[in-house]
């Protein structure tokens, strides 16, 4: 589902964020992406969401090689993935329903479908009763759950999360992780960037570890590396 082949990303002559990274997370897989801040986690997620282009190497999402996609096709690609951010990125000028509805509006769904899907997504994160409220009125954990509802409302095949529990206490973090686990159980491929060691231990998902832009640990051995010719 997510395949990196010798991917490097250079931001300047001396700023190498990723150095020849290769891995393959299969369809329906779930993984933690770990490493200290500055290790390249965010860069890796940005490349996966095609928000930035790699300096070298190829990335394949599903069956779409990103380097062959033009800027025109990227919105469609992003509509098929859900992204969860550390600071939830909710729009405070509209209510929770409208926040979650946004991806569906852009994807061109009719109102009946939008209503049904938004309520289903809010129900899954346990916030159905709050749909008319402003995101400001929610706690940090609840806001993050709205962010997750927005990420999954399009029923994506792939869910990316950048430090989704970065601002949450341990108990809430566990709730959020449990949500990700449940989405994974129904077939969604999930990649979660985190440096929360407790979570890593508790959840026991496969690991990808970055240090200084290099992949130093990979629980999904790249097939081409595993079976060298």
């Amino acid at each position: 589902m997510i395949e990196f082949i010798n991917v490097s990303k250079q931001y300047g002559p001396d700023a190498r964020a990723l150095d020849s990274v290769s891995f393959h997370i299969p369809q329906g897989g779930i993984a933690f992406l770990t490493g200290h801040s500055g290790a390249g986690k965010s860069t890796l997620l940005k490349l996966t969401a095609a928000l930035e282009q790699p300096t070298r190497g190829n990335i394949v999402i599903g069956d779409a090689p990103l380097n062959r996609l033009s800027e025109k096709h990227l919105p469609h690609l992003r509509q098929r993935m859900g992204i969860v951010f550390q600071n939830h990125h909710l729009l405070l000028d509209r209510n929770i329903f409208d926040n979650v509805a946004l991806p569906l509006v852009f994807a061109g769904y009719g109102y009946a479908d939008i209503q049904r899907r938004v309520r289903a997504a809010l129900d899954k994160v346990g916030l159905l009763a709050r749909e008319k409220d402003n995101p400001c009125s929610l706690s940090g954990g609840e806001q993050q759950r709205v962010g997750i509802a927005r990420a999954v409302v399009n029923r994506p095949k792939l869910l990316l999360a950048d430090e989704p529990t970065g601002n949450l206490d341990p108990e809430m973090s566990m709730e959020i992780m449990d949500l990700f686990r449940r989405f994974n159980q129904v077939g969604v491929t999930v990649l979660i960037a985190t440096h929360d060691l407790n979570l890593l231990r508790e959840m026991g998902f496969p690991l990808l570890s970055l240090r200084g832009g290099k992949l130093i640990h990979n629980d999904f051995e790249h097939p081409r590396m595993k079976h060298p010719a």
Partner: protein, 311 residues
């Protein structure tokens, strides 16, 4: 299926409806900024419209140019009305004269009484001191002075004619002023349209900065570049429409407050001239142009901002 959900909701969550809804919401939130922008816009669109109307109205005065393109032949006082009418007929037969009109001595006195503050003085006179006259409208109206001078000398040769007078200068001056004014209006118009574009562009730029969260999020969840720009294009169009309406209202106020004095003035010249306002046609043109200015201003800025975002 669709009948179950209210039309308004369906519209509000369509691609365009959603953009319009949140643009309106934003304009409502940034009330003072919106108001200032609309005022600047309305004024900068109303000014060229007002100047334009001034020119249009002056040109309508110019329509009565037969008066200007004519010679007045003052007759000797001893010439009778019958002789005067006969002479007018003779003069009209000339190929360089289009038409003539004889003004009898009585008619001249009557007109003088009506329009002159010296009217009372005439009552003390025993005889009518005014001569009869023939107003001859020339066939050509090119304002060629040597031709007219020659014609006036020829007409002076009639024994009944005492004096030939013509005044082309005021017509020439009026035309020159009109030409200058028209040019000025066009130039001011261009400058003010540019002002309107800049105001809308800058307003949209600020709006994009304030709504940068929305732009970021929209991009991340799969909005196309057009979908990201759409709310801002609608903002521009909304500014354009409201600014246009405001401009029309301002012009209306100006025309209304000027029409009273203008009627008094034209009354003094014995005319029933009425100021011409925008009317439906010019109002629609003004509204259409301001809407277009709004869209273009927003589009230019949105496109420029988007290329910065997509880098």
């Amino acid at each position: 299926m669709t009948g179950k959900t209210p039309l308004l909701s369906r519209l509000a969550y369509s691609d365009h409806g959603y953009a319009i809804k949140h643009s309106l919401h934003y304009l409502g939130t940034a009330r003072i900024a919106t108001l200032v922008t609309l005022l600047v816009l309305g004024i900068s669109l109303a000014l060229p419209a007002v100047f334009g109307l001034v020119v249009v109205n002056l040109k309508r005065i110019d329509v009565s140019q037969d008066d200007a393109n004519s010679l007045t032949l003052y007759l000797h006082p001893r010439v009778s009305d019958l002789q005067g009418v006969e002479l007018a007929g003779d003069v009209q037969k000339r190929s360089d004269i289009r038409s003539t009109r004889y003004i009898s001595r009585d008619e001249a006195l009557e007109t003088f009484r009506k329009h002159s503050s010296l009217a009372d003085a005439t009552d003390t006179l025993e005889d009518n001191p005014l001569p009869g006259a023939i107003v001859a409208v020339m066939a050509q109206d090119d304002g060629d002075e040597s031709r007219i001078r020659l014609l006036s000398e020829t007409l002076s040769a009639y024994p009944e004619v005492e004096l030939v007078k013509y005044d082309l200068n005021w017509l020439k001056r009026l035309r020159a002023i009109l030409a200058l004014l028209s040019r000025t209006v066009v130039l001011i118009g261009i400058l003010l349209v540019l002002t309107a574009l800049l105001v809308i562009g800058n307003t949209i730029r600020l709006e994009m900065l304030r709504r940068s969260d929305e732009i970021t999020v929209s991009r991340l969840i799969g909005a196309t570049a057009l979908q990201i720009q759409r709310p801002f294009l609608y903002s521009g169009v909304i500014y354009g429409i409201l600014g246009g309406v405001l401009a029309i209202a301002l012009v209306g106020i100006v025309v209304t407050s000027l029409s009273g004095p203008a009627e008094v003035l034209s009354g003094l010249y014995g005319s029933t001239y009425k100021i011409q306002g925008l009317g439906l046609q010019y109002s629609l043109i003004l509204l259409g142009s301001s809407t277009l200015i709004g869209l273009v201003g927003a589009w230019l800025v949105a496109r420029w901002q988007m290329t910065k975002i997509l880098q």
